[in-house]
Symmetry: C2
């Protein structure tokens, strides 16, 4: 898998200008954040600022193009990768591949800023996790929850949010070479505590949970949990 673009995106081994600009923008946005100027991106792509708005209409149009591009690649790569249901593994694997690393960085920046792309990605991760957890329950390796949808959202937000925070604090410089190593370090630090928590829990007795269940009789019944298995929650 050496070629990234679709059939119409390259021409005789040389990328079309618009695609080159878009890719340069993804890399620059990932490195410097979205406050990066059009002139900087233009210089990276070897063109002028005016040409960017000629092709994309505006800076916001360029961002939209970048968002769509990243989403497209993420969807394409997701099918090839083993996922842990939260997307962390997928991002980790993609970060190892030199060509995908800028997109992972762009995605992290996008989540820092909180745009539509970030929201959509999170929803994808949540629905992935839903399927993954449901499968795990069916296979008997995952304990059923009193509120599966809530647990799914909880786990997705925890996994994604902690990763985002970790990179915000430890990888603020955002050097492209150290990035895969940082990812590996993050997952190494994570693995043991996560596995411990997932298999053994944290608390010794059930009193806190039982107290909570006494006060809040809210969680949906097991029946509604089973009925949810086909579609997505609101």
């Amino acid at each position: 898998m050496t070629s990234l673009g679709g059939a119409s995106e390259e021409r005789g081994g040389e990328l079309a200008t618009a695609s080159r600009i878009r890719d340069a923008a993804i890399a620059r946005f990932g490195r410097d954040g979205f406050r990066a100027g059009l002139r900087t991106i233009a210089a990276d792509a070897g063109v002028t600022a005016g040409l960017i708005v000629h092709h994309f209409g505006s800076k916001d149009g360029l961002r939209r193009a970048c968002d769509e591009r990243v989403l497209e690649i993420m969807r394409r790569e997701k099918k090839k990768a083993l996922t842990d249901g939260t997307g962390t593994m997928l991002l980790a694997q993609m970060a190892q591949v030199e060509q995908f690393a800028p997109m992972v960085l762009y995605l992290l920046r996008s989540m820092q800023a909180g745009g539509e792309l970030a929201a959509e990605l999170i929803e994808h991760m949540i629905s992935d996790a839903e399927a993954y957890l449901s499968a795990g329950e069916a296979a008997g390796v995952v304990r059923p929850s009193r509120d599966r949808a809530a647990r799914t959202r909880y786990l997705a937000y925890q996994a994604t949010g902690s990763m985002l925070l970790w990179f915000t604090l430890h990888g603020g410089d955002a050097e492209p070479e150290k990035f895969p190593a940082l990812f590996r370090q993050y997952m190494d630090e994570l693995a043991l505590p996560a596995l411990e928590l997932f298999t053994e829990g944290l608390l010794v007795d059930r009193s806190m949970l039982d107290e909570y269940l006494m006060y809040v009789p809210d969680p949906p019944s097991a029946a509604s949990n089973a009925a949810d298995q086909d579609g997505t929650a609101s």
Copy 2:
């Protein structure tokens, strides 16, 4: 508890100009992010942009003053609040108090941007969690971990990062009134899955953890874990 400032910060019931500017900056930075202009902040405080740099040297000086202020308030309030060791509870309680809400918002922005304040706050939360978990282990309510330090960092990053991500996506508008309600909603959505995970874990059997422990014989020994016990707990 109605007065926020120290003795030298107010004069006859009216805040000194520098403090008024600083507080306006905290509120404006929290609402609009750090790209907010000096003139906007100046207008909020009823002064001119030049006066701000006269008092604080530069925009960065203003940010440093805001950081110190927030850190000071956080430290002061921490002693009065019940904490769950991750700081989430502390922030939730402070967000309910109208006068503290802007600071919580500022803090979230600070973590989005990843400055020194954010790093310091996280370290505080981690050391708090360390003490809290150690006390829990000693009291026999928290299971000991094979690597307590790693688990502490893991839990702190999970709690803080998921909260940050949640607010980035759900509270991007950052309206000051809806903020306490958002916080309550976040914790309501969280409580059940968190308690479930903490008391029952996620996985049915130990195979994944045991496999990992076979491959990585790294975690510090129980002896080194026990030796840590005196330093941090208070």
